[in-house]
């Protein structure tokens, strides 16, 4: 009887988790891609995060914070992997000259070649930012997460997120040169 009840509880919990997860699946997938740079690694990271999240779903008190909680778990897991393998994930790890964005197939088919070059330069410069600045900038400017959500994902304070985004933009401008302006 107890076993049956436990199994029922597990089934209900898994169902709830699935509902929440499917809402953020694509965004989580993109974050995994940003973090890992390779499709295979991103899949592994995402699956591992999901596995951990299912296990700890009961501990999440406020389900409305599911997205931030999940993203934070993924980032922490990714950092753990990096520490474990003692590697610094940075531009060089994404294959030297081949930028992560290119490998992700991010570049849309553009009409004018000069415009494509312009876009590539932006993505290339974003790649060159350190991870601590790149992640909040990408999440904010490209993924549209607000400051509070980024704060949850990164496990740092709201003001720290603001500072990092500011620094990231400043650094990006330095890398891009004077042809660009940032709001």
């Amino acid at each position: 009887m107890v076993l049956q009840r436990n199994q029922d509880n597990v089934a209900v919990r898994n169902e709830q988790f699935t509902v929440h997860y499917e809402e953020i699946h694509l965004q989580a997938w993109r974050l995994a891609l940003y973090l890992c740079g390779r499709r295979e690694d991103a899949e592994d990271l995402l699956a591992e995060t999901v596995a951990g999240a299912i296990r700890n779903f009961d501990k999440l008190r406020d389900v409305s914070k599911f997205k931030g909680w999940f993203m934070k778990s993924m980032r922490n897991l990714h950092i753990d992997h990096i520490r474990r393998s003692k590697r610094q994930m940075d531009v060089a790890d994404f294959g030297g000259d081949v930028m992560v964005w290119e490998r992700l197939g991010r570049y849309p088919q553009l009409e004018g070649p000069h415009r494509s070059a312009e876009t590539r330069q932006v993505f290339r410069s974003i790649d060159m930012l350190p991870e601590s600045l790149r992640t909040p900038l990408v999440l904010n400017a490209l993924e549209g997460l607000d400051i509070k959500e980024i704060s949850d994902v990164m496990g740092i304070g709201v003001s720290a997120v603001k500072v990092r985004i500011h620094r990231a933009r400043k650094k990006l401008m330095e890398l891009l040169g004077e042809d660009f302006e940032v709001d």
């Binding site: 436990n6 597990v10 919990r13 898994n14 699935t18 997860y21 499917e22 699946h25 694509l26 997938w29 993109r30 891609l33 499709r39 899949e43 995402l46 699956a47 591992e48 999901v50 596995a51 951990g52 299912i54 296990r55 700890n56 779903f57 009961d58 992700l104 197939g105 991010r106 570049y107 849309p108 553009l110 000069h114 415009r115 312009e118 876009t119 932006v122 993505f123 410069s125 974003i126 900038l137 400017a141 490209l142 933009r169 990006l172 401008m173 891009l176 042809d179 660009f180 302006e181 940032v182 709001d183």
Partner: protein
Amino acid sequence: MSGNGNFTKDPLDLARSQMDFARMAADAPSSKEILFKAQTIIPSTPSKPAWQKGAPLAGAALAAGLLFTPMLPDDSSLDRLSVNFEGSMQRSEAQQLEFDIRNALPADILMGREFSAAGSESAGRLTLVFTAAGEPRLESMVTRVVDSTGGDRSPLYGKTVNEARVSSRDSIVRRVTAMFAADSSQIDYIDPDNHTASELLRRPELILAGLNGVLQHEGYAARSVEFIDRQPQVADKADYRVIELAAWPRPMRVVIDTVDLASFEHEALRQSCVEWLDSVNLGTDLHGLVRHPGELLPIMVQVKGLDGIYDRAMTQKLQAMIIQPTKPEFTDTSTWDVQAAVKPPLVELMGERVCRVSYEQVDDPAYNRDVNFFWVEVTMTDSFEKQQKLDRRVEKLEQTIDF
């Protein structure tokens, strides 16, 4: 977009506008795929395994148990098995066979050998002695290895003998000491790589233990043993307790732990000590060395790993691969040099690995000045730069030694 052909002034806006979210979504694995993959990683039951729940309790129980347990059972036996090869074989063949068998043996089985010359200097019969502490499968494992490696050489297996019961906590040194104390035990089988003599020289306490084992038969014990840098002298009549012995590589001085000794007792004890020294090849009998080449080889090697710690496996392999000089060779340095004997097997064994080699000619034995012995120390290194520098030093050393 500006009118002069430049694009938006905010690069992040530009980047966002150019990102192909639809394409990324199309490329993304489905949520079901990810959920399925996650299920294969871990079971989703959110409970700790039983052993984790009980771990603190079990740990406390074990600690309490250990606290009230005065001694854990620690006995194990030391078994010995001899294998004689019926056919005569060349010394180099014997070394190769020994090498092959040693490589195939598990690490906890020790192997000693004796090569007794028959007829000519280079041909003879090989005897291998295997020992293991607390290994009930000694006989079966040795039989399997020897049959598969040297089965065509007609091995004759002896009976497995239980030599002693020793504590599993004892080190090999204590086992050796225990064997010395045992009645009429030869130590050739204890040392798998014929390092007995060198081990003894490195550990004077073993010599003391060995001599004590002998002297106890006469009802005495040795108080101290030390090497001396002069010829041994006949005992001072005033003090027969002091016995000075001619030994390899230096004479030694033994003080008997007693109030007084008579002259005849002194002589009897001296004779016992001399016999024991001969039996472990620390004596001065040149023929003893030739008769038991396995005991103290002209070329003794020691391999140290990257961490500077003695690498037993590599040492055993290299020692077995070196073809030792014959008696005329190692007594006549004009026709033989140690580098020529060591370098080929060293290159074969080390392959691409980097190592430095130092050759040390051991002090002339007190009474065997026409014999040349070398300690060869091989140290693995991972630095080419370091190796070059050290090589130069070794070259100097080689020149100084003047082989």
